[in-house]
């Protein structure tokens, strides 16, 4: 009897996939293009709708390969596959750090001739957002830019009787506002920031403090960097007006945390892509209203932090023609679906209405087109890159994150953290020859 029951369970489990959903369409001789994405993207509605729209417009079927694991895993897995001669057609690079390394590795097709052949002057169209290399060619088209801003919880501001932040402000203003909003009894923190680059060193990035010395070594330990890190430490560990790093570890904080837990986090510094999450009541049900403010800036360095996303064609691409069509299409359309800012040199009034109109509409009156335009684009601020770019940049980034995390957890003092970063990064730079 027991054996029969066990056999039945076993048969059921083996037969399980037969009943499970997900039948696969057979690919005939239709035109296809292949691309990779993060595991988290594969579930996003906008991403699937974008590819469906491309398919309807061009008749080219998009085959998406998500990578297992989190976002960091994604980028190294893509590098592993590219180095192994992957034939995936279109490779997206989020942020310039990975992009630069991939260009240097020769993974991508030079695009100037192809794009000009399609009748497009990319330099004119994308201006400074087009990453032109030293050889005068470019290996990707930008699909969107990300501008940083501060999201805030209007309900918590109202409750504390504090006016919403408007216009330009400094990090000192931000800190004071955060202290005033913090309410330990109700578990409310005035501020929330991811404990990683660039947030841990924000003001030094805005001051464009170089990450490398002139002869190419690590230049992390500078007065402005220390000032930025100590500011973060003060927020998290001394005044405790910002969620401390140990609590973030315990809460398993991930990239979408604020959308889920923003009810007790008054302010949050992030790129504008986060509006998408805050606007999605389906994925992140929420009973508080949010607002948007400028990224604070330190005295004398009125720069906002911006980043970009790039799409490139793999040199081993199986469908190069379709890949070009997809990359061109994405450069003009990805921002419309993702709810982002186009990477054009000049945004027309129409673009502005489309880009910010959709965001404002989805927010159901919480933010307006003008709010968005004034915070993200028309903010009178200069632009600086969010990433470390240069030799061993990826390793540099991780080392800084690891050592600073240990500092914020009070496992080592700042001098030790700085010394460790400098030593480890220099070792990494050296190992790259």
């Amino acid at each position: 009897m027991k054996k029969i029951a066990l056999a039945a369970i076993l048969v059921l489990l083996i037969a399980l996939p037969v009943f499970a959903g997900g039948s696969k369409e057979e690919t005939t001789d239709e035109r296809v293009v292949t691309t990779v994405c993060r595991a988290s993207y594969a579930n996003e509605v906008w991403y699937n709708e974008m590819n469906k729209a491309f398919e309807e417009e061009t008749g080219i079927h998009v085959i998406v390969q998500p990578t297992p694991g989190n976002d960091d895993d994604h980028d190294s897995k893509v590098n592993i596959d590219l180095a192994a001669g992957s034939t995936i057609d279109v490779i997206p690079s989020l942020g310039p750090r990975y992009y630069a390394a991939r260009v240097e590795a020769g993974f991508f097709v030079p695009l100037r001739e192809l794009v000009e052949g399609a009748g497009i002057n990319a330099e004119e169209k994308f201006g400074a957002n087009l990453p032109v290399e030293e050889d005068g060619d470019y290996y990707s088209l930008p699909s969107k830019i990300e501008a940083y801003c501060v999201f805030y919880n209007k309900d918590l501001f109202d409750k504390a009787g504090i006016p919403y932040p408007t216009g330009a402000w400094t990090w000192d203003d931000y800190r004071e506002t955060a202290i005033a909003l913090t309410d330990p009894e109700n578990g409310v923190y005035g501020s929330f920031m991811n404990a990683e680059n660039p947030w841990t060193i924000l003001s030094s990035v805005q001051k464009e403090d170089p990450f490398y010395t002139e002869d190419g070594w690590c230049n992390f330990d500078t007065p402005s960097r220390r000032e930025a890190i100590e500011w973060f430490y003060d927020m998290s560990n001394i005044t405790k007006c910002q969620m401390p790093v140990d609590e973030m570890l315990n809460e398993n904080v991930s990239w979408n945390y604020y959308a889920m837990a923003g009810d007790h986090l008054a302010m949050f510094s992030q790129g504008n892509w986060f509006t998408r999450l805050l606007n999605s009541q389906a994925d992140y049900p929420r009973d508080w209203k949010y607002g948007i403010a400028l990224t604070p800036a330190p005295e004398g360095a009125n720069n906002n932090i911006v980043s970009a996303a790039y799409n490139s064609i793999n040199v081993n691409a199986e469908h190069p023609e379709e890949a070009l069509e997809y990359v061109l299409w994405l450069s003009e359309n990805q921002w419309r679906f993702e709810g982002g800012i186009p990477a054009y040199a000049e945004m027309t009034e129409e673009d502005r209405q489309i880009a910010f109109g959709a965001m404002a509409e989805a927010s159901e009156g919480q933010i307006t087109v003008d709010d968005l335009y004034n915070c993200l684009v028309n903010n009178g601020m200069g632009a600086v890159q969010s990433d470390i770019i240069g030799t061993a940049a990826d390793e540099y980034n991780r080392i800084a994150n690891e050592e600073l995390q240990a500092y914020f957890l009070d496992l080592q003092d700042l001098d030790t953290a700085m010394a460790n970063i400098t030593r480890r990064v220099n070792e990494a730079i050296q190992s790259y020859e």
């Binding site: 590795a105 390793e395 957890l409 030593r423 480890r424 070792e427």
Partner: protein
């Protein structure tokens, strides 16, 4: 006369022998041995960026020197050793105790044994998900027990001190069955008469273990020790599933360092050199164990 006939059939035997092992040895040489030797080759090549990923330029000892001069390599090597020591001691000790207990009859012994063996067959990624849930310091069920007594309890995987030992304990939990089964089998081979003799001579429980059981199962224990030492260095999946090397670098082990150097930072040459040195170290440790083993077995 007789001799030549024998050697003729022996020669035919020999040919059959070679023929029979050929498929195995061939597959082994192509897919197992060659990659190992290739690793030594790669460790002497200048392949330390995505750009030079296919380079075969001779680098001399540069990759080895770089690896040795990198402080993180030493930190993670130290963590690997700590992991191994805790793992081997715990798994051998607990395995031995449980095996001795399992050798006694009690109600439901078969079911209890099955329950003890279960963790061995499950994979670390799944196990990692479960343990991260159970040991969540603020919400998890384990720390709920601490909160009954009004304390927050340990931070487990988020604690710089506890992260490495905690991952080790999870690895021990998963590997215990193997040790229990092996020791139990050896125990069951110990002849009953020996215990009877010991009883007659009035030996206590501890004396029985020391003078009857241990000498009988010593060869098994040494074999297990070798296997456990090798397995203790196979910890990449465990670490990735549980802590990914964190917090900071608190649980970063050498296998993770090799993985990241090679596949995140594309320093294949340096990573291969680390792999070669790591393998050499493991072989060295096992050579010591086998020395100790022959010394010990002589004495018994």
């Amino acid at each position: 006369m007789n001799k030549t006939r024998l050697s003729k059939s022996a020669r035919r035997d020999e040919r059959t022998g070679y023929l029979l092992i050929l498929p195995f040895v061939l597959a082994f040489a192509v897919f197992k041995l060659y990659p190992m030797l290739y690793g030594i080759l790669v460790s002497f090549w200048k392949r330390n960026s995505l750009r030079t990923r296919a380079s075969t330029d001779f680098a001399g000892l540069d990759n080895y020197i770089t690896a040795i001069q990198t402080s993180t390599v030493w930190t993670s090597f130290l963590h690997s050793i700590v992991f191994s020591v805790i793992y081997v001691v715990l798994v051998m000790l607990l395995g031995f105790i449980v095996a001795v207990l399992f050798n006694k009859k009690f109600k439901g012994r078969t079911a209890v044994r099955t329950m003890f063996y279960m963790p061995y067959v499950t994979n670390m990624i799944a196990v990692g998900i479960v343990f991260k849930y159970m040991l969540n310091p603020t919400h998890g069920p384990v720390n709920a027990l601490w909160r009954i007594f009004g304390s927050t309890g340990p931070q487990w995987f988020n604690s710089p001190v506890l992260a490495l030992p905690t991952t080790t304990v999870v690895a021990v939990w998963a590997a215990l069955a193997f040790v229990i089964i092996t020791i139990l089998a050896a125990l069951q081979d110990v002849p009953e008469e020996l215990f009877e003799v010991a009883d007659i001579e009035g030996a206590g429980r501890w004396q029985k273990i020391r003078y009857v059981v241990l000498p009988m199962i010593a060869p098994t224990l040494f074999m297990l020790l070798t296997i456990c030492i090798i397995n203790s260095f196979r910890n990449y999946t465990t670490i990735v599933a549980l802590t990914n090397g964190g917090p900071g670098t608190a649980s970063r082990v050498l296998s993770l360092q090799i993985y990241e150097d090679a596949f995140t930072y594309s320093k294949y040459g340096v990573a291969a050199a680390e792999g070669v040195m790591f393998a050499a170290f493991i072989i060295f440790v096992n050579a010591i164990v086998s020395k100790v083993r022959s010394k010990c077995l002589e004495r018994l």
